[in-house]
């Protein structure tokens, strides 16, 4: 096995380098990528048997028109089919990196001309799974030279073979000119795009560094102000704490109930025929017990007084034998919004 001398940790890099070269070549010159068709200039066709103007792109496709910016100074001499030999070769895809060498060998062995008189060209015409179909064309160099001698500028003339299915370029004539023009154009575009991107990056970098400087300046100012204002900030913190305590104490005050007022209100709603024996205020509720001539009347008068909610008698009203009155227990809820419940707090005065 032949080693290229390019090794990394003992691994021969040549196959990878070949693959990279092949991939680049496919991308830059391949028909499938279309890059060359878009950016390479066209050559003017010289045809012995026709006077009509035609143009040839880098893949050998003919067009009748060409924009001025897309036209090259290079001419393309199109050979008729009767002076070329054509052959289709099927080559394994894995041999593609060495395709040029393989085709040259095939051309040498297939050519009926003397080796010094043999010129050839080739093009990949089809890609199948695992194999390539290559069209090989061979012609006599002296025959071509005779035709070229009749041209004005043979050094700037490419030679193409007109085949049954498309044209194939014969190697060794003026093809390098258009290729180098195309590569130069690609390079120029790449440099322009890179320059534009670099400009964007530089602009963003400038903006970024300016803002970074401003952020640092702001942080520095903040630190300075923080150190100057530390005692004032501490006073503010303490004020917030005391204010929160005051609010809490105020809430505590506002939750208080004026039981004296409620007792007065209850007394005002209680007729002389009712005798209260106990009253219990707890959690906003009131439970009263006592004796009455008519406990049910008393219950309904309390319910309709508007002072209480949920007025109910948890136990049955029963007659008391010793007093001949009705014994009752009434539970109710004190109305939160009642005037009596409005507690005047000291803090309200402060606020």
């Amino acid at each position: 096995m032949v080693s290229s001398g390019w090794t990394l940790f003992g691994v021969d890099l040549k196959p990878y380098v070949d693959q990279l070269k092949l991939a680049t070549s496919q991308l830059v010159f391949g028909v499938e990528s279309g890059l060359a068709a878009r950016f390479a200039k066209r050559a003017k066709v010289i045809r012995a048997d026709s006077e009509s103007a035609a143009w040839l792109d880098i893949y050998g496709n003919e067009t009748a028109r060409c924009d001025e910016s897309d036209c090259s100074n290079v001419c393309a001499l199109l050979l008729p089919e009767d002076i070329i030999l054509e052959r289709l070769l099927e080559i394994p895809e894995m041999a593609e990196p060495q395709l040029a060498d393989l085709v040259a060998l095939e051309a040498g062995s297939f050519s009926p001309f003397a080796p010094a008189d043999t010129v050839f060209g080739w093009a990949v015409v089809e890609r199948n799974k695992g194999s390539l179909l290559v069209r090989l064309v061979i012609a006599s160099a002296s025959e071509i030279q005779e035709r070229l001698d009749r041209e004005e500028n043979p050094a700037q003339t490419e030679v193409w073979a007109s085949c049954s299915k498309g044209n194939v370029q014969l190697l060794g004539y003026g093809e390098a000119i258009r290729r180098s023009e195309y590569l130069l154009r690609l390079l120029r575009l790449t440099v322009m795009a890179s320059g534009f991107l670099a400009g964007l990056v530089i602009f963003a970098g400038l903006v970024s560094s300016t803002l970074s400087l401003q952020t640092s300046a702001l942080e520095k100012e903040l630190k300075s102000v923080m150190s100057r204002a530390a005692p004032a900030a501490e006073k503010r913190r303490k004020l917030d704490e005391v204010a929160a305590d005051l609010e809490e104490a105020t809430r505590f005050g506002s939750e208080r109930r004026n039981y004296a007022g409620w007792l007065h209100a209850l007394a005002a709603k209680t007729p002389n025929t009712v005798y209260l024996t106990a009253a219990r205020f707890e959690d906003g509720g009131l439970e009263i017990r006592g004796l009455a001539v008519n406990a049910a009347d008393y219950l309904s008068s309390l319910a309709s007084s508007g002072l209480f909610l949920s007025v109910e008698s948890p136990n049955a009203i029963a007659a008391d034998r010793s007093t001949d009155l009705e014994r009752f227990t009434i539970r109710m809820v004190l109305r939160e919004d009642e005037v009596l419940n409005q507690v005047e707090t000291h803090t309200a005065g402060l606020q």
Partner: protein, 201 residues
């Protein structure tokens, strides 16, 4: 556009398509790294500027109004000290409250037959205060009770009568012989709460 790119990529021979994918991915990673590196100060500035400027303004405001802060603090603290017992030992504050309640009751004309300071419950404590609670057992006339409740309401520090149980005093001995006191004398049990500023603040 995306479909056209995908179709173009599919049309390419495998080595060329791998090269395009690899190159695009490398460029993408490079651009991402570059963008994150360049955008970090921009975001820092954009997000932090308003916050920092506001903070600086606030601190400068504190500096400018330092004397006002001090006077407001004194006023607020004075107001607060009127509403709650100040930070001291819980028992000391409780004893002070108990003593105050007893004297109020006596001034109102009630007879204090018992008073007990409840242990503060942790559930009753909030951020700045703990709660003191005193249970009182009293007896006296309705007028005395009225006067006591009114004085509790106006007392400073604040007092909150949380529970109030009033019953008519009974006279006589034994269950059946007992009768309600015709003079209207009352027996009262009250639970009174107050706030105390927490000492550990």
């Amino acid at each position: 556009m995306k479909d056209r790119l995908l179709r173009w990529l599919e049309r390419l021979p495998r080595p060329a398509s791998l090269l395009v994918i690899g190159f695009t991915a490398s460029c993408g990673i490079f651009v991402l790294v570059l963008l994150s590196y360049l955008s970090s100060p921009i975001f820092d500035y954009a997000l932090g500027k308003e916050q920092k400027t506001a903070r600086i303004s606030r601190l400068l405001g504190y500096l400018a109004s330092e004397s006002q802060l001090e006077s407001t603090f004194s006023l607020t603290q004075a107001a607060h000290s009127e509403l709650a017992y100040q930070a001291m030992e819980s028992n000391q504050a409780g004893a002070q409250m108990q003593q105050s309640l007893r004297s109020q009751a006596e001034v109102a004309g009630l007879v204090v037959t018992g008073s007990r300071l409840s242990t503060p419950n942790e559930a009753d404590e909030d951020a700045g205060h703990s709660r003191l609670s005193v249970e009182l057992t009293l007896h006296g006339t309705p007028e005395s009770l009225d006067s006591f409740l009114a004085s509790a309401l106006s007392h400073r520090p604040l007092l909150n009568v949380e529970k109030l149980l009033i019953s008519a005093r009974k006279i006589g001995v034994g269950g059946r012989n007992q009768q309600l006191d015709p003079t209207g004398y009352l027996e009262v049990r009250a639970t009174v709460a107050a706030l105390r500023v927490r000492a550990e603040k």
